[in-house]
């Protein structure tokens, strides 16, 4: 559920204020609005503002210097690399899982859906830990990997694996309800008319699910670039080699280089804002597409 429930089909809103029975008195409205908006400002808005304010506290020169410093650049590069591998892998998985689950009936389907959600309920720390147990020096494949000079834990492959784990369900859980709702009729028609499986998939299914797919990719990417706990366990924090951006923020912060820590953090905060903007845009597009179908 970490991605939030799918909000691709939203109802209209203002109808409640137009009616006597559902209209709250001005006093109630005032109290509810004040309480909820103050809470929103203190708990959500303030942390975001603080990131940018602290980042720029010592001026633009310090800010830019913190971003172009070699360790920061290599952290940015590693974060992009991990996301660039993890996101496509989970997209292929998500589409494949949704195809099997939404288009076919089979035994154990409910169990499969639950298992796909599993990574959301596992602490990120445990996600990292389980790869250490499999690939670490004392793990299942530890001695074999060492003998063949392959490094996974405290190296880039471990970081990618941990990232894949924590972002595992996003695409699948966005697509499964969407494809279930769409049913199989269009694909069946294409097949009966002689389209091959892949033709049906690319020309019928993909256009139908494109907004849901985009939504899943945006969420996967945001989490992939921002993951901290799982990556922290498998990374070994080797500066310039196995440091992602969130880990770099931690190191700078623990060295009391607050302005630099917040400078790198502000890039991640910017990424979060872009994510929210894209997400809102996709929701809006999906809503429009939905209305066009209904009209």
């Amino acid at each position: 559920m970490a991605g939030g429930s799918s909000r691709l089909a939203k109802a209209g809103q203002t109808r409640f204020e137009a009616r006597e029975a559902t209209r709250d008195s001005a006093l109630v409205k005032g109290i509810v609005l004040t309480l909820s908006l103050v809470f929103f400002a203190v708990f959500l808005l303030l942390p975001l503002v603080v990131v940018f304010a602290e980042a720029l506290r010592k001026g633009w020169d310090t800010y830019l210097a913190a971003l172009v410093e070699p360790d920061a650049l290599s952290a940015i590069k590693l974060t992009l690399t991990a996301a660039l591998i993890a996101v496509p892998l989970n997209v292929v998985f998500g589409v494949s899982a949704a195809w099997a689950i939404a288009k076919f009936e089979f035994r154990g389907k409910a169990l499969l859906v639950t298992l796909i959600d599993l990574p959301f309920s596992v602490s990120p720390v445990i996600a990292g830990l389980c790869y250490v147990l499999v690939f670490g020096a004392q793990g299942w494949f530890g001695s074999w990997l060492a003998a063949n000079d392959i490094k996974i834990i405290f190296a880039v492959p471990g970081i990618v694996l941990a990232t894949v784990f924590v972002t595992f369900p996003f695409v699948a859980r966005e697509l499964i309800p969407l494809m279930e709702a769409q049913g199989t009729e269009e694909e069946e028609a294409a097949t009966v008319l002689g389209a091959s499986g892949w033709q049906t998939f690319w020309r019928v299914t993909i256009p139908n699910i494109k907004w849901g797919l985009m939504y899943g990719i945006i969420l996967t990417n945001a989490r992939a670039m921002g993951e901290f706990g799982a990556v922290s366990v498998v990374s070994g924090h080797i500066r310039g080699f196995t440091n992602t951006m969130p880990l770099h923020v931690e190191i700078l912060y623990n060295e009391y280089q607050f302005a630099a820590a917040f400078a790198v953090a502000s890039l991640l905060a910017l990424l979060a804002l872009v994510t929210l903007a894209l997400k809102t845009f996709v929701e809006w597009q999906a809503e429009r597409a939905h209305k066009e179908i209904e009209a």
């Binding site: 559920m1 939030g4 909000r7 939203k10 809103q13 409640f16 204020e17 029975a21 559902t22 409205k29 509810v32 609005l33 909820s36 908006l37 809470f39 929103f40 708990f43 959500l44 942390p47 975001l48 603080v50 990131v51 292929v92 099997a100 288009k103 076919f104 499969l112 639950t114 959600d117 599993l118 309920s121 602490s123 990120p124 720390v125 445990i126 830990l129 389980c130 147990l133 499999v134 004392q138 694996l161 784990f165 709702a181 049913g183 069946e188 499986g197 670039m225 921002g226 993951e227 901290f228 706990g229 366990v233 969130p246 923020v249 991640l268 905060a269 979060a272 804002l273 997400k279 809102t280």
Partner: protein
């Protein structure tokens, strides 16, 4: 869905299901099973001593209480926020609505250092709160604040769609039968929202139990006082105590599995409720 299908003419069932199962097993199931297999290398007594050590027990208490408290705060304020977003119009509403998902999008480490900067002694709010005797950063209260931050969207995004689907007719019927507004809320709106409120609470609670990044910066991480359970696992790993780390991890995993089942049951209940109403 639900319509019994005859022979399905669509291709790709074997390929897609086979790939799904193989990928799921390799990425998730096999690595997770390593946690249980490794913890089984401990003797029963050693396992028990590890998971009931005073430091571990203190961390369970803190993690559980702070997660529970944060989920409770979020149920109250998250519902108010969802109510405001669905029922009222106010300037900036679209931005507020989009920003509710910030905790999903903002990396936890960034949230952690930002919250610490706000609540530390010389911080934006800390400078006001500490003279009043309220220490937040580096205390259990700081853990609570971080968990409120990460849990909020779970409640809002679970309650909001149910409020949107709620037909105005039900409240009108209650009003025309003579019920005042408070009675209508208590007897009509609240029962409809109940499954969503419980689901939102459980989702926020489950997420909070495993949270690490946003908490460790603000918690102060004092053993027996402000040390969360995921941090105990990290500490044991750093001391190369793999068996000890996995023992604690398996306790957390069992709790997570139980919560996952609870969430599934709640969502099934909510689904039946919604279907029954339509």
């Amino acid at each position: 869905m639900g319509i019994a299908k005859g022979r399905n003419v669509l291709p790709g069932f074997g390929l897609s299901l086979g790939f799904t199962l193989a990928y799921l097993s390799l990425i998730v199931l096999l690595p997770l099973s390593a946690v249980f297999l490794k913890s089984a290398t401990l003797s029963g007594a050693a396992f028990w001593d590890t998971i009931t050590a005073p430091r571990a027990m203190a961390s369970y208490r803190l993690t559980f209480m702070a997660s529970f408290g944060a989920a409770l705060v979020n149920v109250v304020f998250g519902s108010l926020l969802a109510w405001a977003l669905v029922r009222y119009s106010f300037p900036g509403k679209k931005i507020v609505d989009a920003m509710v998902d910030l905790p999903f999008a903002l990396p936890t480490a960034v949230a952690g250092i930002a919250l610490t900067a706000i609540y530390a002694k010389n911080g934006w709010l800390g400078a006001w709160l500490e003279p009043m005797g309220l220490k937040v950063a580096f205390t259990p209260l700081g853990v609570l604040v971080a968990l409120i931050f990460i849990g909020l969207p779970f409640v809002v995004r679970t309650v909001q769609p149910v409020l949107e689907d709620l037909d105005a007719e039900y409240e009108e019927a209650a009003a025309s039968l003579g019920a005042d507004r408070l009675t209508t809320l208590r007897l009509v709106v609240l029962p409809t929202l109940l499954p969503a409120l419980l689901t939102g609470f459980t989702l926020a609670f489950a997420r909070a139990l495993g949270e690490y990044g946003s908490v460790i910066f603000i918690a102060g991480n004092l053993p027996l006082v402000s040390e969360i359970t995921p941090l105990i696992i990290i500490t044991k790993l750093e001391q190369y105590d793999y068996a000890g780390a996995t023992a604690i991890a398996s306790v957390m995993l069992i709790v997570s599995f139980a919560l996952l089942l609870a969430i599934n049951a709640l969502q099934a209940w909510a689904g039946r409720r919604a279907a029954g109403m339509g």
